[in-house]
């Protein structure tokens, strides 16, 4: 398998042939006036980027690469706007060097060199950021930019079967991590959509949300301890199931997005591999009733693993299910006990709230994978193909992107209406046709994490700017209703304007002070969360 230089995942897995034809036909049916001409990415070799401005010292030279492919693939994340800019050959901002440390000491050595030389360092895990988190944008004041690729820190170092925990290096990708834990019957059970191409360190640095909807899904809650290399020393927290000793040190680094230090390893809480599973999908005629059922289940203490409400547009587009009120995809899993009883109760709640008896309930007792049927199964397959299909459509002038948030239940109805209005308003201003879908990725007792999909027929060569206008409009809608600018996509460079309004002002000052204490030369991922240092001000 070869990684695509310009888009998601593996070249071999790209959407082609009949899948592409079917996808194109579906979009054409929805948006008959769309120009769906397929554009090709330029050849990598045809790209022109500036020569590296910095060279590594001899002691680090063996870790550094200035190959074009390395530099280009490390200059972007995997957002729609990243993919399209690649398709258009717009690759101006790339790191001068990609450096691949093989040990914690080498991470420290790279930071020491860069701090002394005024070189910005962008920690790089799997490079799946969708918020400009790894892009060296606006760093002209630095002597150069190093992309610090943690990919060689790729091992499970220790497993504690009794406490169900493992010490795992930060550069490990999802599949390798799970493969290493499988012989112990254990799983981290953290499956973000980027799972195949993202790393533990990236999940920790960006507060990844995981796939499951309730308890033990957010990566924050799966951390026992962390090791973080900062420019002013290594931070190592104690391995603890819980603690009340001052503010949590780990919570300072969780979500710090590479601005305070480089996470090198963590003790992570694991789970036994599930044996019992039950899945079902419930159709609703009325979306408000579906939201209500979802809320009651979220507040029930049943702790479903899936409780994913697809609104009618999402159900139609991604689960091929036509409803007037949406589909609630329910799942329960356990390694300890059958889960038919909580599923029965959840379905009873749905019934009480006007949901229709499910088309099929799948209940399994096995150590293998559950069979996924009905809307749940359809939606799940679609979930894994989404990024590939996104790329295919992006090359056909479609604007295909997502954004996500979280809010309390009392505000959700207003939030969704405001967001849909804002998006449609942006479509109108741009003179384009678009659809916005909504699903819940996570549900909390006090509110959902809504995830929106945008599908619009754009104009080739202008879809990045068109998306940016839509994104600004919906971000304003989120801000105006008091929702968060991100539940699990992180802040990066793209969310900064709204993040800055969201965070309390005293916290912003505290974060800045922390930055200066840990990274006095302000070399770590400048521009993310915190402004780059003014020219020459903080750097040694």
């Amino acid at each position: 398998m070869a990684r695509s230089w310009w888009g998601w995942g593996n070249v071999e897995d790209a959407v082609t042939g009949s899948e592409r034809a079917a996808l194109t036909a579906r979009v054409a049916a929805l948006m008959p006036r769309a120009d769906l001409t397929a554009h090709e990415a330029p050849a990598l070799e045809s790209l022109s980027v500036a020569a590296p401005r910095v060279a590594p010292p001899d002691t680090l030279a063996h870790l550094a690469s200035q190959e074009l492919g390395d530099r280009v693939s490390h200059g972007r994340g995997q957002a729609f706007r990243d993919v399209v800019r690649n398709l258009l050959g717009r690759v101006a901002d790339v790191p001068d060097l990609v450096v691949r440390p093989g040990s914690e000491q080498e991470v420290a050595d790279v930071l020491e060199w860069c701090a002394g030389a005024g070189i910005a360092v962008i920690p790089f895990g799997g490079g799946t950021s969708v918020v400009g988190g790894v892009e060296p944008r606006g760093l002209g004041d630095y002597a150069g930019v190093v992309s610090l690729d943690l990919g060689r820190l790729d091992r499970v170092l220790e497993v504690d079967r009794t406490s169900r925990a493992a010490r795992i290096q930060a550069g490990m990708l999802g599949p390798a991590l799970e493969a290493a834990l499988r012989p112990e019957g254990l799983t981290l059970r953290h499956f973000p959509q980027s799972f195949e191409f993202s790393t533990l360190g990236g999940w920790l640095a960006t507060r990844a949300g995981g796939h499951y909807v309730t308890v033990y899904t957010h990566i924050d809650d799966l951390v026992e301890s962390m090791r973080v290399v900062t420019p002013s020393g290594i931070s190592a927290s104690r391995r603890l199931p819980g603690s009340g000793a001052g503010p949590s040190p780990d919570r300072m680094f969780l979500g710090s997005e590479g601005t305070l230090g480089v996470i090198t390893e963590a003790w992570m809480r694991l789970q036994d591999r599930p044996r019992w599973r039950a899945t079902a999908s419930v159709l609703f005629d009325d979306y408000a009733a579906a939201v209500n059922a979802t809320r009651v289940i979220a507040q029930s203490g049943l702790f479903p693993t899936n409780c994913r409400l697809l609104d009618p547009a999402e159900a139609f587009l991604n689960a091929a299910t036509a409803t007037s009120g949406g589909v609630l995809v329910l799942g329960f899993e356990s390694a300890d006990h059958p889960v038919d009883e909580p599923m029965r109760r959840a379905l009873e709640i749905c019934g009480d709230c006007g949901g229709k008896a499910p088309e099929a309930i799948t209940s399994t007792d096995s150590s293998g994978n559950a069979v996924h049927e009905g809307a749940a199964g359809t939606w799940r397959s679609s979930f894994l193909r989404m990024p590939y299909q996104r790329d295919a459509l992006a090359a056909q002038s479609m604007i295909v992107e997502t954004f996500e948030t979280a809010c309390t239940w009392d505000r959700f109805e207003q939030l969704r209406a405001t967001v849909l209005d804002a998006a449609q308003g942006a479509f109108a201003t741009l003179g384009i046709t678009g659809v916005v879908t909504c699903r819940f990725t996570h549900v909390y007792p006090d509110g959902p994490a809504p995830y929106f999909g945008v599908y619009a027929a754009g104009t080739w060569g202008r879809t990045v700017e068109q998306w940016d206008e839509i994104k600004a409009a919906v971000s304003e809608a989120l801000a105006s209703t008091g929702a968060t600018i991100t539940h699990h996509h992180a802040v990066g460079r793209d969310h900064r304007p709204w993040y800055d309004r969201q965070r309390p002002e005293p916290f912003a000052r505290a974060l800045q002070a922390t930055k200066t204490a840990l990274d006095p030369a302000h070399i770590l991922n400048p521009g993310v969360l915190i402004d780059p240092a003014p020219r020459g001000a903080a750097r040694r």
Copy 2:
């Protein structure tokens, strides 16, 4: 009811008469050589404290008190060493003034005055600290000390029934808070042992653990948003069920113990009042087997509300149950569904691990309180009387105190052995007789939170120093096994030496930088978590 000036709770609830006689008889049976002469607290009026060194400005004078009773009762928490020092009339360090703001603006006004005048400010909720958290110790470099009593901020301001959340002022005591929520059918369901006399703000500032053993018990997880008055502005976080936007602002203030700002209110996540309950107690012949059963249940995903393992000494002393391996007190509760099935499964796990069929299972379906029977009920009543009995015994030269921690399951056996050895070693050095008991207050999938009780026959007039030696020995034992110095008692002034070793050094510097950013005059609770500012260094 009148609050005791020297000890726990209400004067009218003190241990007297037949309860005292029975308690004394039990202790005498265990420790026949103990001198159990009961000593009396001196009269409040007989105490001599220095005159206040500072006077409030006219604009704040109506909020300030310099009454002896106010000053003395605000100079101490409720630890054993606090109570004994009071009994001995050792009340040297008391605040100069007690100030009771009635609004957020008045909190800000007090901070402004104190920052300008170099006066230390100690935020005071219910004053139940057991770690010297509210004691003005070692603050001679400040112009004076103000105890900032938040007790007048005592209302529930808003309830959002849909999201099950409420905006609650920080000075609200547990019973008033629950009384205000009861008409809505809601509960915060946070019941620390100090519940009756501690406040929401105190729980937040000290990361209180709550009464329940799994999910939604630690106060950290119950917070939607907070308002905090810092000397450099108000920090107000957005009300969110979850967020991935940078490091969590709330987590910076949770556990900050009054050093970074004064929490004035918070939106808190609530729960429906439970209807179904099941409780049972399982006896074990072998303690290791009991620990194993507890671990398996903690890792089962059954989410018991109680899963409290009492070791044989704890079971004997506090639940009047003689066993060779301890008692596991199990409980399940739900507002949504019957809980017999998870209880059945938990008991099956206990059976598989060598536990004996429970003496009685109590299963109730009601909107009222469950009937508590068996060892569970005995232990629960005892739990609520413990602080009063502690005071009675403290006045009879007994050393009666607790300490607590958390560790991963793989280390627990070694931890307990090391702690018991250290305590017995300290008893031997001191030439006294003592017993150490252990129970779990919380269990996580990756480890328990063990809570130890110390009962030793001390020497009147020296029990504080004797306890301090025991405490130092057991704290070293915790540190040497990599456990935390506190799971939910906070750091305060008493845990500083071990906290300083526990926290990562870069985090200590970050915290110091944050302190300077938010509290540039270093007036807030100096000495807690962070050293007081050197004379004149940071203060304006």
